[in-house]
Subunit: 346 residues, 4 copies
């Protein structure tokens, strides 16, 4: 059970609630939140009789919790959430299909500027690039780290593009948020709850990738951490799950996209590069994601994929990306007009 | 290693080849085939020196086998295979997107005729319906079996629709092939090699579904059994794989579709009903399959899904199916025209 | 719902039951069985009111079916089933730990006789060897087939060992049952329901392997087919499941063994060779299977694993097998004495 | 490629190495380590010609890296590592089988003291208990956090037991290390590389759990982060992997234990509670882990599992645990004596 206090509730009100819970033989647990105070109840066997709480005025709502998420659920918030990126680009709801592109890792100024200029020319609004790279082996390239953040900031200022990068540690949230417009929580950190709590404290948009073995429930539970922390600007990102099939790097779970849209009001985008791990499959899967209702894609593009320090085999060459972008525009327009904004559901 | 004989090779030629192999210290194994004779070599450690065989005229080809499939591979047969269904409908290559629809199980004449009339009216050329139902429990409805085949035959004659049904046992192949136009080998039988061998002996088209945990290599290996048996009319069908995620019945692996098209010349269709297990997801996934390059879809439709004896929750109602069909047509046309027949690859 | 008739029920009785079901607006479906007649009811929405059936004397039992299995469940049959192999060896319950060993495939008389003599000397009662080999590729060695059966029969007669071999097709059940003592249904055929029905018609023991992606419920549902057919002599065999981990060939699911013993009265054995795919892991996993309560193991042993036509890398050399057998005996005795026959449960 | 400097190398030596690498057209990357300096080389295509580096005296070793791990591999360090816990208890190599036990979460002083007294009485040396609980939902009990650490410390001082608890955030490493003897990195954090780096800076032992979808290579890669950071006291812990099977909470991968021991010199223990999620399966799987060569187990035990705030259904009652402990001792002794310390390998 979850007790949400009015925003005007005082410490005294909170204390009263806690005492009442204790007197019921249960244990109150404060749930941290920047904008509201919530109090969880633990120690109950089955349903709690909430009678003693019902008369406390400072309580906004008493929520019986059965699912691992509440704030992110469509029951709780039926309208689509539209997240604004950098005061100008919107994602979610009826906003235009969003394209984010760039290399896996920030490697050099030249590499990033070349990519940024291409995006700028094409009208692609968001550049991606990893400064901190989570790698299986400590002997692999770990990213340029702070140096990478500075490069991203430079490119951002020079081109006016928005920039997204991954944050891998709670203590980096501040510095990353200073240098870029959008933060990404990677698949390996989907259940790094301290990191989720930390990005819940800022207001910059957060792209939350699905974990390699993350169930739908767990993923939405992770988003709940960020919203409960006070940051409503969460964009989900499907990036393939780990299965027995090794012909592709991961298994792209496109069916989860319309299902996510049933369960939650949050925007959802798709990463075809990690989902497939193969350059040839990026275009067809990106296009398919429009049709299943994704709000955008995040694609790996590199000026010289053959020389990339990571993920070269799944990065598009510039001409491939330009061709794909033309098709995404064309298909996006078609879906919007001919499928009449009713979505693609049966 | 595989030795393929000329079609004019005599028994004497075959005996000569076998003796030669034996004299090389190896073991010859005849591989059954209706149109050709092939002889496998076993017992070798690594590569075989084929010198003693090279002068035998009746040998068409000596093939070193490293992959589990050869006849189905695009290396061996670069052009797309187009399979003709019932002398009139084509699937594969540049043929129009094929729609197959109908209930999971044949339940009654009324149910089948209602569905058939709808398909007829809509111009959908192929009706599906299971006469033999593979079920986890012997206490579940097993299908009307021979009675179901007769109903299918009746509907076929009355409406002129083509009909597809699943065959679950080698000994049923004959009777099933008499009553329907297309045979289906189900997911649970993807590696029922005796069944594969048996459908390799007929010439009617066979839809070969991917197994619940079938890898790309295993699936193509299974298709190879059918082709090697002499039946080139194989249509692959992706129907979702089994993963840790239980929010959908299976995980639709759409990325495998363009990958299959890289590896093999055979047509591939998609079954969104089993892939997702949820009615609401059938439409978006069907549409997405066009975009990734599928040659068709097989969809469960039922006059009264709520009363279906199996898979009701994933079957479309008639109006839902009609609406989807309109969208499939419209999207199919768009993809063909605007994506210029170049496929959707990067 | 399942209606089981008394063994003395006549055709007239069965007809009466069917008519009664029809008059209830439902559909009767006969379920084949050698020793009993059972009639399933289909077409119901939820629970059936069975009042009209209760007075029919020829009905032994009316069973509401919710799980996919009934006859195999421990609720239905609380005591352990002990299966007798070839009138002399017992498996299940408190019977001694059973060891089955032999090569993956029957390759030659010499190979089989060498192995059989070793087993004989060691007191291992059952020899395994595949005559029909299900292989991913039709270009791989398919087994000596009927020739293999004859070899097995010969070895059996010469040594007095019991012999088990895999049957892959319903039509081979008869011939296989003539030549060997125990039939095996392989992992790829766990849901080959026609094959299950066919082995349900004989009385020789059947080892039913778990499928690569077979859930506990599906596996027991498959065993139910055999028991319902009239053959109670089923021995389950865990052989590893397919997961994302490729460091081993499959993932040995040892925890399923005590869980299977909770759910069913049937014996369960373990195949460490396929479960791991690595010779070095066969001994520790075999020993562990004793401790979790398996009733036996089936191990691949080959006189020359390096020259085996299949699965050489997971086959033990003779000395390795002899050493392991000593340990199995010693550990088995210890577990029986010191863990006081109370099993190993908490 | 990895360049490891002598411990006496100066900053000047390191600078020389970096310059040399740059002059080779490559990029040097410093790899943090408390005891040694290592420099990675990136930007190479394939193998690097290391000629220019070979004469630099301050270089201890030049290591071509192909696997994701090096320091943890048995090639690099053939002898078993024995980790000392709290100056008195040893795990790994030929040390006695280690038992760690306690509740999932620290809930109260009473709960912890009851459990601790039981362990003390039984001679079980290490108490577990979670202060920070990673939970799918932010609405679930998150642990007593700092309060939990203080309780653990109190119990530790009062009983002399060693204590292990999970650390979930890099910034907590310091405080956790102050209060307990052993830190645990949980399954969800197996690839939280910042956390790994942080626990690499301390010298207290770290139990590193395998991730839900962690491959053997990834797991050892994660251990490599800790060793490379300078902390050699890593104990691996298998706790089940996520698969399609839902009859158990996870799938216990016991075969990985002897395989891990082939690949690495680090100790490995087993967590039967999370691996199975069912109380009844804890005893058989714990016993089996001895037989496959685990160096210990970590078991959930609770004074009142029915009232536990988390994981009650997998926690043993005190009498169950006492009975199991007797069996573990008895079986452990047997394995050591009768299987002659040769391990259990074939």
């Amino acid at each position: 059970m979850l007790i949400v206090m009015h925003h005007w509730a005082t410490d005294k009100d909170v204390t009263l609630v806690k005492k009442t819970i204790t007197s019921m033989g249960l244990k109150p647990v404060a749930i941290p939140g920047a904008e509201r105070t919530a109090i969880g109840i633990i120690g109950n066997q089955g349903r709690v009789n909430d009678a003693p709480l019902r008369d406390i005025k400072a309580i906004l709502e008493i929520i019986p919790v059965t699912k691992p998420y509440k704030l992110v659920s469509r029951d709780f918030h039926p309208a689509d959430t539209v997240v604004t990126l950098g005061n100008k680009v919107k994602v979610g709801g009826k906003s235009p299909f969003l394209v984010i592109a760039g290399p896996c890792a920030v490697e050099s100024r030249d590499q990033m500027m070349k990519t940024a200029r291409l995006l700028k020319k094409m009208g692609v609004p968001v550049l991606r690039g990893g400064a901190y790279k989570p790698r299986t082996s400590p002997h692999s390239f770990q990213g340029l780290r702070e140096g990478g953040l500075e490069l991203l900031d430079e490119v951002r200022k020079e081109t006016g593009l928005l920039v997204v990068t991954e944050v891998v540690s709670p203590e980096h949230v501040g510095i990353v948020a200073e240098h870029v417009d959008i933060l990404q929580v990677g698949a390996r950190n989907m259940q790094n709850f301290d990191l989720l709590t930390e990005v819940g404290k800022i207001r910059k948009p957060v792209i939350l990738k699905r974990g390699l073995s993350g169930t739908l429930e767990e993923w939405l539970g992770s988003a709940e951490y960020i919203l409960l922390g006070g940051n409503p600007n969460v964009v989900l990102c499907e990036r393939g799950i780990r299965t027995f099939e090794t012909a592709t790097r991961n298994t792209a779970d496109l069916a989860i996209i319309p299902l996510v849209k049933e369960k939650t009001h949050l925007p959802i985008i798709f990463d075809p590069s990690h989902a497939t791990g193969k350059r040839n499959l990026v275009a067809p899967l990106s296009l398919a994601s429009i049709v299943v209702g994704a709000h955008g894609v995040m694609i790996e593009v590199h000026p010289e994929p053959e020389r990339a320090l990571s993920d070269g085999q799944q990065s598009l060459h510039f001409p491939e990306f330009e061709k794909l972008q033309g098709r995404l525009n064309s298909l996006g327009k078609f879906v919007k007009q001919k499928m009449q904004g009713q979505g693609t559901r049966a």
